[in-house]
């Protein structure tokens, strides 16, 4: 059923019509929250709060825009507020990341995949918040430029510019990390060779 039909039912007082909307967009909301906050429990809490906020303000929803971008916008703003309030630098739990990867692959492959995933995660996390959000919305949530404009409230030129810079910064970070890990491998190889 179309989102707008469900929203009209909700506004008419039928709260059960909100359930399909939660089912449809909970992964998007959770994913944005997880990428912005890097904490699974907090992301789950934020997902609940975002849907409650959307429910409470449903009468303010503008049908000119899709419900998807509206709820994504609420999520992004909510997460930015939390980060500003806590004044924190997000950091992904290395052990947690290792566990997620080892569930998917064999032990050796898992170590390599885990290292790679950690490197990518760290590189993304090292980006300033607005660039990190752009990268996540475009490359992870597969949202279009138009959708990102609506979500972030920025014009197309700013969105394109930020994504351009975000990719550039990400490439530099990845090169930096790859260089460091190569250096580490070289040092350990020399240490093994000389028996130290």
């Amino acid at each position: 059923m179309e989102d707008l039909v469900l929203i009209r039912k909700c506004l008419a007082g039928r709260s059960e019509a909100f359930e399909p909307l939660i089912a449809k967009y909970k992964n998007l909301v959770y994913s944005i929250a997880l990428n912005t906050l890097s904490d699974k429990n907090e992301a789950a809490d934020v997902t609940q709060e975002v849907f409650l906020k959307a429910w409470a303000n449903l009468s303010k929803y503008n049908p000119e825009f899709s419900f998807k971008t509206w709820i994504a916008r609420i999520t992004v703003n909510h997460c930015i507020n939390i980060n500003q309030k806590n004044k924190r630098v997000v950091a992904w739990d290395d052990e947690e990341m290792g566990r997620v990867v080892s569930e998917e692959k064999g032990p050796e492959e898992a170590v390599l995949a885990c290292e790679k995933r950690l490197m990518v995660r760290k590189a993304i996390e090292s980006l300033p918040e607005m660039y990190r959000i752009m990268i996540n919305l475009y490359h992870q949530e597969n949202l279009s430029y138009e959708e990102i404009c609506t979500i972030t409230g920025n014009p197309m030129t700013i969105v394109k510019n930020r994504l351009y810079r975000a990719r550039k910064m990400l490439a530099e970070k990845l090169r930096e990390y790859t260089g460091k890990s190569l250096e580490k491998e070289e040092i350990s190889w020399i240490a093994v060779k000389h028996g130290t």
Binding site: K26, S59, R117, N136
Partner: protein
């Protein structure tokens, strides 16, 4: 093609907007430029990796949210009937009181209030007497008393429940 031109094409490539002839030119440049090739490969694999990093929301969330939504009515649902209507009545009474005070002073206002209360009481008593006469029975008085008590209890429960709901709604839980 220099590296800055190549970088612009890399951007268009990741935007999925690069025409095939331009893509061929880019690939040709990447073959001979290890710096651009390094960045291109790093970004490509990072974006593929990001797809794998996606995690679904915990399955319990849906039920939990619905449970909270059923407890928390939307903004306006509580405010309109419970706050705005009594507020309008209070404001009207206050305006009327101020008007009477400004016209005849405080003593006149008090006299008018007492008169109004007396008239109201008399009207109410007359209505009850009429009803009593109409039904002419002890049971009528009893049922009216029970009705008034029950209405007061239900009104109390309704107000307390809605205040709790309002608190849940505004605290987000």
């Amino acid at each position: 093609m220099d590296c800055s031109q190549a970088w612009n094409l890399i951007m268009e490539y990741f935007d999925k907007e690069l025409p095939s002839d331009q893509e061929q030119k880019l690939m040709e440049h990447l073959k001979h430029c290890p710096a651009c090739k390094g960045e291109f490969d790093a970004l490509s694999s990072a974006f593929v990796e990001m797809e794998h990093m996606k995690e679904p929301a915990p399955p319990y969330l849906e039920l939990k949210i619905m449970k909270r939504i059923k407890k928390a009515p939307r903004k306006g649902e509580i405010i309109l009937p419970l706050v705005i209507a009594p507020l309008i009545i209070l404001l009207a009474l206050a305006a009327l009181g101020l008007h009477v005070i400004s016209q005849g002073g405080l003593s006149d206002f008090l006299a008018q209030t007492i008169r109004f209360l007396t008239i109201s009481y008399r009207t109410f008593s007359a209505a009850i007497a009429l009803l009593e006469q109409m039904f002419n029975s002890f049971y009528m008085r009893l049922s009216l008393t029970v009705l008034v008590i029950l209405s007061a209890i239900f009104a109390g429960i309704y107000i307390v429940r809605n205040i709790r709901k309002a608190k849940t709604s505004f605290n987000g839980g």
